[in-house]
């Protein structure tokens, strides 16, 4: 290969690199002028430039769309999940509130309740086991009541949610 051939080869190689670079990351104004001049004079490189432009044009034109059914299913799933998350959050807030109230109740009332139950037991001449059982019932009362309330609310919410999901018009395609 003589010197002229080598130089010609390098010129074509540079042109090929610039053809791709123009689309991938852009090229400088000077490179653009050089490339356009070269393409005007070189048929193979010009064909290469057209082939690359056509390939990109084809890619841009490829009409790929999500199906209406898939989009609809996704929307429904998102709404269901959002509702689940909302309900979980509300339950968590209610649970921690109940725990806080019950803990506060226990801390504040235990000594007085114990003293009161003991006094009542003595006054009624009841055996210790009886007033102590009464104390235990009293002690567990707030947590039991709150748990019952929350269980009732949870059951009601599940029924509401199921009704809402079944009867809402989701615009199925």
């Amino acid at each position: 290969m003589n010197r002229n051939d080598e130089q010609g080869q390098r010129t074509h190689e540079r042109a090929r690199l610039l053809i791709a670079a123009r689309h991938v990351e852009g090229i400088s104004a000077a490179d653009r002028v050089w490339l356009d001049t070269h393409l005007d004079a070189c048929a193979p490189c010009s064909r290469e430039a057209s082939a690359v432009a056509d390939a990109i044009g084809s890619l841009r034109a490829a009409p790929v769309h999500a199906s209406a059914q898939a989009v609809w299913r996704t929307r429904l799933a998102v709404r269901r999940r959002a509702e689940e998350l909302r309900s979980q959050r509300e339950r968590a807030v209610a649970l921690w509130s109940a725990v806080a109230i019950a803990a506060g109740w226990v801390l504040l009332t235990t000594p007085f309740a114990w003293w009161t139950f003991a006094a009542l037991g003595r006054a009624a001449r009841a055996p210790d086991a009886v007033w102590q059982a009464g104390f235990l019932l009293w002690w567990f009362l707030p947590a039991t009541v709150l748990a019952a309330i929350m269980a009732g609310r949870h059951a009601g919410e599940r029924a509401d949610r199921s009704h809402w999901i079944t009867h809402t018009n989701w615009g199925e395609p």
Partner: protein, 184 residues
């Protein structure tokens, strides 16, 4: 733009399904195209499409608005696709998306061809065949660059690779695309 992203981030923290509805409407085709480009399989892309939006709902509070929403969205979709591929194959994560290791993640399918299923007509079929012949890692960057018109930096962020890798995949992908569609 940043204000819009910040407002969107605040809305996502509220997990409002109406906000998600709007986003699904806006990004449905772009996200689906992207998922199809990396999975090469319509049913898988549809499953991941749903998974991605559920993840957006659950992890919406993690979007800070520092990136464009679509970059974050595509990042989630990509993670889910790789997780799925990892569950289906025993190979390493690198292998799954490495163009040098063959076709990467294309789930087994008895139907005619993956991307091809979407398109009809002679010209479309030619494009589909050409795209299906390209390794997913190349298809992914080609789509992000030429269909989504994303800048190189964002592409690198989505594919979690250095800018130089994103560029090199684009150059190789473009060459593969030209050969496979142009047939030279």
């Amino acid at each position: 733009m940043e204000l819009e992203q910040a407002a969107l981030a605040a809305s996502l923290r509220g997990r409002d399904p109406d906000v998600l509805d709007g986003l699904i409407e806006q990004y449905q085709h772009r996200l689906f195209r992207y998922l199809l480009s990396i999975t090469g399989h319509r049913a898988t892309a549809e499953d991941l499409f749903q998974e991605t939006w559920l993840r957006v709902l659950e992890r919406g509070h993690q979007y800070r608005g520092q990136f464009k929403f679509e970059s974050w969205l595509f990042g989630i979709a990509r993670h889910l696709a790789i997780d799925l591929a990892r569950r289906k194959k025993s190979g390493s994560l690198d292998e799954l998306m490495d163009p040098e290791e063959g076709q990467g993640f294309v789930p087994p399918d008895s139907n005619p061809s993956p991307v091809q299923q979407l398109l009809d007509g002679e010209e479309r079929e030619r494009i589909a065949r050409g795209l299906a012949a390209i390794a997913p890692a190349y298809r992914e960057v080609l789509l992000l660059r030429f269909q989504e018109d994303l800048p190189l930096q964002e592409i690198a962020e989505i594919i979690q690779a250095p800018l130089s890798t994103a560029k090199s995949r684009l150059y190789r992908g473009l060459d593969a695309l030209r050969r496979s569609i142009g047939g030279s």
